[in-house]
Symmetry: C2
Subunit: 444 residues, 2 copies
């Protein structure tokens, strides 16, 4: 169903067909489609969605559309939506709203929901607590599989997942049991004989990215969240973890290109916000680059005598920057996916050193021959450029691979040690190497 069909049915007031078609739609796709409607149509169409599905569709919409809908909802409708949403989605909705709106909305919901939401709203934004939900299945160790299945039958419909169940004694988590285990074992066996006592868990205060990485590592559907006292307070599910991993990777990629990250999507971010996200690093890098300029000034008389020297500056600077960013990118990504660690420092440096020698020699040879041929057999010039290339590439790769590891060790984000910063640092080195060699060879 494209937007046009939807609008046609709406125009023709063919609500029956409209409802039927929307029933066939996946909530994610439906949310995307509704977001293309204008405010008036949105409210009309949204009210036609089946009640149980509506809260899910609502949770997939953007803040703007949700605000529009909330503005024209009755308090009864708001209560229904908030009560039907999983707590993590409700928290996600309320987090971006002004405090007075949040209070007004919370007035509408049931007492239990309000308490849950309030508790979750208190966790720091990047913590595991902020992405968890409280709708899980709790079992007790003495239950039989039959009793456990019976409990799931009763409360499972309101749980975000029934596929991992939590065995709890006096609010303490003593084990977890999968629905697969419950469904494939004898009904008279007790839960305590099937449950896994060595389970993976996270703390409310853990970084949400670290929590998300556990899903990637262990392939889990849900992970329990414990508070400081070891009591279970919620669970995080894999779909939220995939979202976090994607967001954190985007943030890393942006940081690697010297951009401060935005919460909003590209198109929703204003021009001024975009500019604000980009200018600070550009200013820092611009001033760092003037150091390279100052070094060049020192060698003014060198390129006044041999002006051709200037024409190799871009090639040297670019190649150095590219070599350095290759190394830093490999290390930054390796650290991000936990493939590389500080303990690998020497293996990495030794590997990069050998790689840089090979790369340097190949590039220097190709370029040396090219210069020799193009500039009428000028051996001296060919040698100067070739030697500078090798020196630049070795330095670039050493700087590129070391800085991200140092950053990580100093608890800085390794992603800032990427292309832009490495390029600026390497520029200075390459210009120094180049003019030092040139003044030596040409006795300037």
């Amino acid at each position: 169903m494209a937007k046009s069909i939807l609008l046609e049915l709406l125009e023709a007031r063919n609500y029956k067909e409209l409802k039927r078609l929307m029933g066939e739609y996946n909530p994610v796709d439906l949310a995307e489609l509704l977001m293309e409607l204008n405010d008036r149509d949105l409210a009309i169409v949204f009210r036609m969605i089946e009640k149980d599905k509506a809260a899910e569709v609502f949770s997939y919409m953007d803040d703007d559309q949700r605000q529009t809908l909330l503005d024209c909802f009755t308090s009864q409708e708001i209560k229904h939506i908030l009560d039907s949403m999983y707590t993590d989605d409700a928290v996600d909705l309320l987090e971006d709203m002004p405090a007075n709106v949040v209070n007004k909305l919370l007035d509408q919901v049931s007492k239990d929901t309000r308490a849950d939401i309030n508790r979750l709203l208190n966790y720091p934004e990047d913590s595991a607590g902020s992405i968890m939900t409280v709708e899980y299945v709790d079992l007790s160790p003495d239950m039989t599989v039959r009793q456990a299945l019976q409990k799931i039958r009763t409360i499972g419909i309101h749980s975000e997942t029934v596929y991992t169940c939590y065995v709890i004694v006096q609010r303490k988590l003593v084990g977890i049991i999968t629905a697969q285990a419950l469904m494939t074992n004898d009904e008279d066996v007790q839960v305590k004989d099937l449950m896994e006592e060595n389970f993976i868990f996270i703390r409310t205060t853990d970084d949400r990215e670290d929590a998300a990485k556990l899903f990637r590592r262990y392939g889990l559907i849900a992970i329990p969240v414990l508070d400081k006292e070891g009591f279970i307070v919620g669970i995080v599910t894999f779909d939220d973890a995939i979202g976090v991993l994607t967001e954190e990777t985007t943030e890393d990629i942006h940081k690697m290109a010297a951009i401060s990250s935005s919460e909003e999507s590209y198109l929703k971010t204003s021009v001024f916000q975009h500019a604000k996200n980009r200018i600070p690093w550009l200013l820092i890098l611009m001033f760092s680059a003037t150091i390279t300029g100052a070094i060049i000034t020192k060698y003014e008389n060198a390129f006044q005598v041999v002006p051709i020297l200037v024409s190799f500056i871009p090639m040297l600077m670019d190649t150095g920057g590219n070599c350095g960013s290759q190394s830093s990118t490999l290390v930054i990504r390796g650290l991000a996916v936990d493939e590389l660690h500080f303990s690998d420092f020497f293996s990495i440096v030794w590997k990069e050193f050998r790689v840089s020698l090979i790369v340097g020699i190949v590039l220097a040879a190709v370029n040396g021959v090219r210069i020799y041929l193009v500039y009428g057999g000028d051996v001296q010039l060919a040698m100067v450029v070739a030697a500078s290339l090798i020196g630049t590439i070795v330095v670039a790769k050493m700087v590129g691979c070391m800085l991200p590891i140092f950053a990580k060790q100093l608890h800085l984000d390794p992603a800032i040690m990427a292309s832009p910063l490495i390029t600026t640092i390497v520029d200075t080195c390459s210009i120094m190497i180049y003019f030092r060699i040139a003044t030596l060879v040409f006795r300037l």
Copy 2:
């Protein structure tokens, strides 16, 4: 359990305690621990793992260790491991082995497993078919919930997931039903009344990255895979999808730094392979950079008259490169996570144009003032550099945002239009703008 404890227990021949400790370990962690052992210890310890867990631990190990183990296994052991592994893991194991070893191994397994493995081995490496598995629960529409649960009880233990079940009529997939629906509905209801008929599916020939993106979009646990005729041939599970998303993102990030991707991890890739992955793009970019050099040569007399001009080249080149790569990175990542599309072309260009004007004016103003102060009130010089900065930044951001979108439209990977290539292109433009303005202002 650290490696040292394990080795101590092994030394002391305290096999009972060793077995007990290993029983407590998660298969993923156990695999990582075993990979640190030498070949002889590895074989001894591996044989002590509980049989059901062994295949899972095996599937998490690296190719080298698996090869070591296979070399010292009896055919009985090989048969057990291969039969216990999910087909997708078995295929993953065999894919990287020479054909004669594969045939030898396949001789050991049961006929059914062999047929499954052979079929999966035939799918292209980047296809959805290559990451699917064949162990799923199939139901028929006329079953009651009770019968369905009974079937899961019987075959569920061998399925990679029981949480999504597939309703099949004559090999055609007619609907899917979640375990949650089965567990929370009346036992006498028929499957056909609960199943979802509008389900998400993928084709064997779909790109595995596109398949993985569906998991991110819809938050699914498993997606069915259909062949050309619409018959169901397997399923892909979310844990494999997370793996694919991570791998593909790594590949993109490497490509954005002008590195050809390696299958192996950083440390396992040889120095020569590393060099081979990096040299081609460096050579291309190095030669492109000589164009910028050639342009500089044209303005030789300009910087012989005003030598200070040369010292601003690094700052202009770096800033242009950084600005361009900011834009290209935002667009490349936006395209990768399906947040931006070709239809957004004009909104993106218009947004980047306005951003580039703000960024350009701010940077030019700051730099203009700096030059005015540092170079004793040289207004002409300050004007030349400031104007060149604005021109460079506008061009850089335009080039940076457009090229990735064009690449996508031409079915090229947008990731190649990243920092290194953009920098090289922008360099040429910035040098041309700079010297054109300089020669005009200084009448050179």
